[in-house]
């Protein structure tokens, strides 16, 4: 009984994601399902049109920039937060988590006003700053969790064997923490890559990302190329999830 319900709900989750695949091979000029015929026409259009390739490139550039900014903000803060006791710790935690607590539409309006005053709306830098800050909480959670699990005896052993603090940091601390750092960076990247609210407000023509382009394409023109983009994005997600499931099932591997 429970199992049947669970399978039905799983289908409800899955089918809408699957439906974009046949749509991408369609010959219809609007959103029509089932497709009247099949072709690779919209793939050709996607891979040759500036209109879609530029937002794709923007998405990658902005997500990379945001990841760098997030890591610069989070890594030192996470070390300070986990390893020291100090007054105002709860306040620092609240500050680092604030972008997660504030609804994105509120942040979006706030950035629209703020970056507008700084003449940074419609620029890559503006979107990178906003996305970099918005990804702080998720990266902070992952990296502080990694740091809490770190055995400081490893550092003490290195120091007592004669390694200096820097040498210890780069040869012992960092290699052990690397997987956690990479997961934090990956989450920051995906947070920016999928972000659709702030960029709709502040992206403008110049810094349009894929989610913003998809939003406009649905609102203004119903361009079927969106099915191609969706299919490519879904394929990437399926690949990523399957790889992570496979890695998790492999036993006795340090994570």
């Amino acid at each position: 009984m429970g199992l049947i319900l669970a399978i039905l709900v799983a289908l409800f989750l899955l089918l809408p994601i699957v439906i974009v695949v046949p749509m991408s091979f369609s010959t219809a000029i609007s959103f029509e399902f089932p497709p009247p015929g099949y072709s690779l026409g919209y793939y050709a259009k996607y891979f040759t049109s500036e209109e879609w390739l530029e937002p794709t490139l923007n998405s990658v550039v902005i997500a990379l920039g945001a990841t760098v900014l997030t890591m610069l903000l989070v890594v030192p803060a996470a070390f300070g937060y986990v390893r020291y006791r100090f007054r105002g710790k709860a306040f620092v935690n609240l500050l680092m988590m604030a972008p997660l607590v504030v609804p994105h539409v509120v942040s979006a309006l706030a950035y629209y006003g703020f970056l507008g005053r700084a003449r940074l709306t419609g620029t890559h830098l503006g979107v990178i700053v906003a996305h970099g800050v918005l990804a702080v909480p998720v990266a902070f959670l992952v990296i502080t969790a990694t740091l809490k699990g770190f055995d400081r005896n490893l550092e003490r052993a290195a120091m007592s064997s004669g390694a200096g603090p820097l040498r210890t940091f780069f040869h012992v601390t960092l290699p052990v923490l690397r997987p956690g750092m990479l997961v934090g960076a990956l989450f920051a990247f995906l947070s920016s890559f999928n972000e659709a609210v702030v960029v709709i407000f502040i992206g403008g023509r110049q810094a349009t990302t894929l989610p913003r382009k998809m939003y406009e394409s649905i609102r203004l023109e119903s361009d079927p190329v969106i099915a191609v983009v969706s299919t490519l994005l879904v394929s990437a997600v399926v690949l990523g999830v399957l790889v992570s499931v496979f890695l998790r099932r492999r036993p006795a591997h340090a994570t």
Binding site: L14, A77, V105, V241, V245
Partner: protein
């Protein structure tokens, strides 16, 4: 001792200082400026707030946002509970398959999923085609650009959050508890109702809070699938900025949304501790 503590303080602030300053300047300041705008644009007054809470058009938006969020939360709970239950109670390929599907849905962007519903519910979509094929008579009911479409889309998008929040709590429930209940003569349904359900309640609270709060400020899906006649708060903010450039009023609406979200999370923090929500 005091000196060592002082040095420790210095090291902590050297590491935390730059990030704290950056977040204050790049996040708290923009929000603060928005708050100021809500009180001063075009002139210093509380008029925007007064309008939000007295003009029927806007009180309707507030009420509609609240009710829609409740409906979406209830739907996510009803749909998500059995999935999380099966995922937590089994440890075979079914559990792995369900988790894989939930993760795929979780990581697929809002826009992709909203687009998919646009196709499914559209006038050339499978639902309308089925309706016509069955010959139920009359024109097919309008599905797209209704509150129904918007509610369905948001439920679909937020369901994975609910399932993952429930699963996180349920997988820690010891199977021995249920076995003990069974060995004491409880029927499966009673064992579930008396033992499993109460132990899963923290997950129900976490998931419901997460979905409800996300829904209050949901942006993309209500705008693309819903109707301006039954606006949600984020649609109102968008409309005020995009069509009217009413900065002061839009900011005031955003502040109301922020305060409502903050109050709900503060109550949760008082009783459960916020850290547990994302833990």
């Amino acid at each position: 001792m005091a000196r060592g503590l002082k040095r420790e303080h210095a090291a902590a602030w050297l590491l935390l200082g730059p990030s704290s300053v950056a977040l204050t300047l790049l996040f708290v300041l923009p929000i603060g400026l928005m708050l100021v705008t809500s009180l001063t644009d075009p002139r210093v007054s509380l008029a925007h707030y007064q309008r939000i809470f007295t003009v029927p058009l806007y009180t309707h938006v507030m009420l509609n946002t609240f009710v829609t969020s409740l409906i979406v939360t209830a739907l996510c709970l009803v749909l998500g509970y059995p999935v999380a239950y099966v995922m937590a109670r089994r440890s075979d390929w079914v559990s792995t398959a369900l988790l894989t599907i939930v993760a795929m849905s979780f990581w697929t962007g809002f826009l992709v999923r909203t687009y998919a519903w646009l196709v499914i519910l559209g006038s050339k979509g499978p639902v309308v085609a089925t309706y016509q094929a069955l010959g139920l008579g009359g024109p097919a009911p309008k599905l797209l650009f209704t509150s129904f479409a918007s509610t369905l889309g948001m439920t679909h998008i937020l369901l994975p959050y609910m399932i993952l929040a429930l699963f996180a709590v349920m997988k820690k429930i010891e199977p021995e508890h249920l076995k003990a209940a069974a060995s004491l003569g409880a029927r499966p349904l009673a064992a579930f109702g008396e033992v499993f359900l109460p132990l899963s309640l923290p997950g129900v609270v976490n998931g419901s809070l997460l979905v409800f709060v996300s829904c209050l400020g949901f942006f993309v899906t209500p705008i693309l699938l819903g109707t301006p006649r039954d606006m949600m708060i984020s649609q109102l903010i968008n409309q005020q900025i995009e069509e009217l450039l009413a900065w002061g009023f839009a900011s005031a609406v955003a502040v109301v949304l922020l305060v409502a979200t903050g109050l709900i999370l503060a109550v949760y923090n008082r009783f459960a501790g916020l850290d547990r929500l994302w833990g």
